[in-house]
Amino acid sequence: MTENTHLQTPETIEYIDYAPPSDVIENHHGIKVLLDVPGASPDKLAVDVEERILKIVADTDIIRDGRPVRYKRNFQISGEIELTKITAKVKDGILELILPKADSAKVHKVKIETGG
């Protein structure tokens, strides 16, 4: 009987992607985005901005039909937003993104702060 061994690399994991429900609020300073991401741990959360698209990906431990659930959502950002000043905070399964108004359009990695 031949042995069949193969390593499962991250690219071969089949996720169930789920777009988290989100609210978008506007104020004088800019935009606030609130996303429901229950089950996503802060260290497995990625918020990136590329070509004026805000990309959110968060892994969870939730398994459905043998596949892990992953939160995934993209938002288009207007030219008014200062991309380098975007901040993110996550607490009790809610991710809060603050997008302040200004200019610039570079690729920028956002640091996540945890709130407990």
Binding site: I16, V24, I25, P38, G39, I94
Partner: protein, 148 residues
């Protein structure tokens, strides 16, 4: 008042068919508003994991006050109640887009087996409520001596 609900009585529950309830749980993560009887969007997504020694129930409850969640266990029923309060907007704030729902919910779940209510543990992490309910041991068969 929660009378004894077994599978035969499923249709008598006014708010949902208990048989369908078990089926619906597994479909919840695929569809935000899954199931006709779970149309109210502020109802949490639930998974019920029937393991060998425990039943593990997980509910997605982002942004809830854990101290105000009400978890009740009796026999093979679990009831969870809670409320998510919508945060008030500042004076200069307005919604551009709204999807998240707020409000109160109450869920009663029939568990796959009887559990030890006194040993049930609940924890709230990253917006997920996890309830571990150790199963009640099955009564051991008892031999009855026949007297002639």
């Amino acid at each position: 008042m929660l009378a004894r609900i077994n599978d035969n009585w499923g249709l008598l529950t006014p708010w949902r068919n208990v048989n369908d309830l078990q089926k619906e749980f597994w479909g919840l993560f695929d569809n935000f508003n899954a199931g006709l009887s779970r149309y109210r969007a502020n109802y949490p997504k639930i998974t019920v994991d029937d393991q060998e020694k425990d039943v593990i129930v997980k509910m997605s409850l982002p942004g809830y006050d854990a101290s105000k969640l009400d978890v009740e266990v009796v026999s093979d029923f679990l009831t969870v109640r809670g409320e998510r309060i919508e945060p008030a907007l500042e004076k200069d704030e307005k919604y551009i887009h709204r999807e998240r729902s707020f409000g109160a919910f109450e869920e009663t779940i029939k568990l796959p087996s009887k559990v030890k209510s006194a040993k049930t543990k609940a924890s709230y992490t990253n917006g997920m409520l996890e309830i571990v309910l150790p199963k009640e041991e099955l009564e051991k068969p008892r031999s009855i001596k026949v007297i002639q």
